[in-house]
Amino acid sequence: MSLDLDQVRRIADLARIALAEGEAERVRDELNGVFALIGRMQAVDAAGVEPMAHGQDLAQRLREDRVTEADRHADFQKIAPETEAGLYLVPKVIE
């Protein structure tokens, strides 16, 4: 398989990464190189092998539903680019 420029732009859009003028061509070539490497695993017939998500095949641990953390709202918002009245500010979405 080989990616074309439209696919590269679509992936970049999904990943919310702006591509500069002319960058899509370079990225396409690099990704095609990487996918050629990845393609080596397509030759393996692994049908019937249970996919392994995790090195230990663990089940997610559950915990009791209770408050364990103190409120550190101000500490966490101190490092945000823009906040007001305890809220994170972003560009207006709804007119």
């Binding site: 990943a15 990464i17 702006a18 190189g33 695993m41 393996v44 996919p51 550190r72 680019p81 560009p91």
Partner: protein, 488 residues
């Protein structure tokens, strides 16, 4: 004192021959003098370090110190440290001061260790040479033109150049073991789940694991004792009884201390692609293990060649999901100009991430996208199970597996820049260990071309760190490769 082991430093501190403040000053002065050329540290804060050292001295004076109290160390800049910058080698986090400590930082701090600073690394730990750092490449102390390896290259260079007695690192596909090998250190990637990932900036969560980087296996064992342990804040942390990782090291040896140990040698680790200088040093090391009483057997790892392709689906897939949190809203870089919310995300991420990080996010996004998920992601997860099964099978006929850590000694800065695939393939011997969640260790076993260090890799079965560390320790008692240090 700069070459002293943690045991020797602890002894000097306990006997009051030396204070933690004096020791910390010694290393801070070396950092000030040598770091401008090495670029191993991104952040230092001598006042903070000295305050920690004074607290450690007070604790020692009260007789309340532990074995690590007062000993300085450096943290990879991927561990969140309250009050210090945590950049993860990226412009994205160039202004990020975490409101909390990573569990590893907290545990080592509670043990009384003194933070010297935060070490340089490949951006978001994505790289094998430290060249992807936004803060510039780190130099290998053995040869300033050469890379230190990556991604924990700053930690490796700092310890090798004796700017710190030890450092923390993280390993997703070889990022502790490979720089340890290329800089002549001992580094351990523990079994997945025994060291908490809480407060580590996430790259690929099913593979990431923190571990120690130091001058010897004994030093690594001391550090792992403080680093490992269950943490409710990491959902994949394992609930196991506490272990003393020095217990086998502490036992008496004799002249055949490894009598009965069965070492598996995978043919796949000694074939095409392995440089002759590395092969020579590794084979000589294995001969030394035989002299120490171990037996060697051949073990097959037939799917090892598939580990790099599978990794370059799984790790980018997890990274594309993990790094979606960097959106310019809650912390990190936000673009100065944008048209709307989506444009703010796109520009903040385009400006904040470097080329390699973007590449991996895009690979992962594609591999997980509609219509490709089965062909790529699920296939990679199936291959992952085949690789894990190969290791499990191998461990039915041996106790430890040995081979090279890296196919070559360190290359020069810029040498691999044009060949992405070659760079990815250089992690061939380390990646399978992460996929299988196994512990892996690298220790120095000689020198190759251009006088650069060669690393021997020891792979253990799950939870076999004490045995691996002991095997490495017995080798280090019989050899002196780990005592060599670069000039000056």
């Amino acid at each position: 004192m700069i070459d002293a082991s943690l045991r020797e430093l602890a002894g000097a501190l306990a006997a009051k021959r030396l204070s933690s403040v004096e020791l910390t000053q010694l290393f801070l002065e070396r950092i000030e003098r040598l770091n401008p050329s090495l670029n191993a540290f991104i952040t230092t804060d001598p006042e903070k370090s000295l305050a920690l050292a004074r607290a450690a001295d007070a604790r020692l004076a009260r007789g309340e110190g532990g074995p690590l109290t007062g000993i300085p160390l450096a943290h990879k800049d991927l561990f969140c440290t309250a009050g210090w910058l945590t950049t993860c080698g990226s412009r994205m986090l160039s202004n990020f001061v975490s409101p909390y400590d990573a569990t590893v930082v907290k545990r080592l701090g509670e043990a009384g260790m003194v933070t010297l600073g935060k070490t340089n690394m490949d951006e978001f730990a994505m790289g094998s040479s430290n060249e992807t750092s936004f803060y510039g490449p780190v130099k290998n102390p053995w040869r300033p033109e050469a890379v230190p390896g990556g991604s924990s290259g700053g930690s490796a260079a700092a310890v090798a150049a004796r700017l710190a007695p030890a450092a923390t690192g993280t390993d997703t596909g070889g990022s502790i073991r490979q720089p340890a090998a290329l800089c002549g250190l001992t580094g351990l990637k523990p079994t997945y789940g025994i060291v908490s990932r809480h407060g580590m900036v996430a790259f690929a969560s099913s593979l990431d694991q923190a571990g120690p980087m130091a001058k010897s296996a004994e030093d690594c064992a001391w550090l792992l004792n403080a680093m490992a342990g269950f943490d409710a804040r990491d959902s994949t942390s394992l609930e196991r009884p506490a272990e003393d990782y020095t217990r086998e090291i502490a036992a008496r040896g004799g002249d055949k201390p490894l009598d009965g140990l069965k070492i598996g040698l995978p043919r796949e680790y000694f074939g095409e692609g392995l440089a002759a200088d590395v092969a020579r040093a590794v084979e000589a090391a294995i001969a030394e293990f035989r002299r120490l009483g171990a037996r060697t057997v051949e073990v097959p790892l037939p799917n090892m060649g598939l580990s790099v392709p599978a990794y370059y689906v799984i790790a980018p897939a997890e990274a594309s999901s993990n790094l979606s949190r960097f959106d310019g809203v809650r912390y990190g870089h936000r673009a100065a100009e944008y048209a709307d919310l989506i444009d703010m995300y796109r520009k903040s991420r385009a400006e904040g991430f470097g080329a390699e990080v973007k590449r991996r996010i895009l690979i992962g996004t594609y591999a997980l996208s509609h219509g490709y998920h089965v062909a790529y992601y699920l296939q990679a997860q199936r291959i992952r199970r085949l690789i894990a099964a190969d290791f499990a099978e191998a461990f039915t006929s041996c106790d430890l597996i040995m081979g090279p850590t890296s196919p070559r000694v360190a290359c020069d800065i810029g040498d691999m820049a044009g060949d992405l695939i070659q760079m990815y393939l250089s992690d061939i011997y380390t990646i399978g260990v992460n996929l299988a969640g196994l512990p892996g260790l690298s220790l120095p076993c000689g020198f190759g071309e251009r006088g650069l260090p060669v690393g021997l890799q020891i792979i253990g079965n799950h939870f076999d760190e004490a045995r691996m560390l002991n095997a490495a320790h017995r080798y280090q008692l019989a050899t002196d490769w780990h005592r060599r240090s670069p000039q000056p």
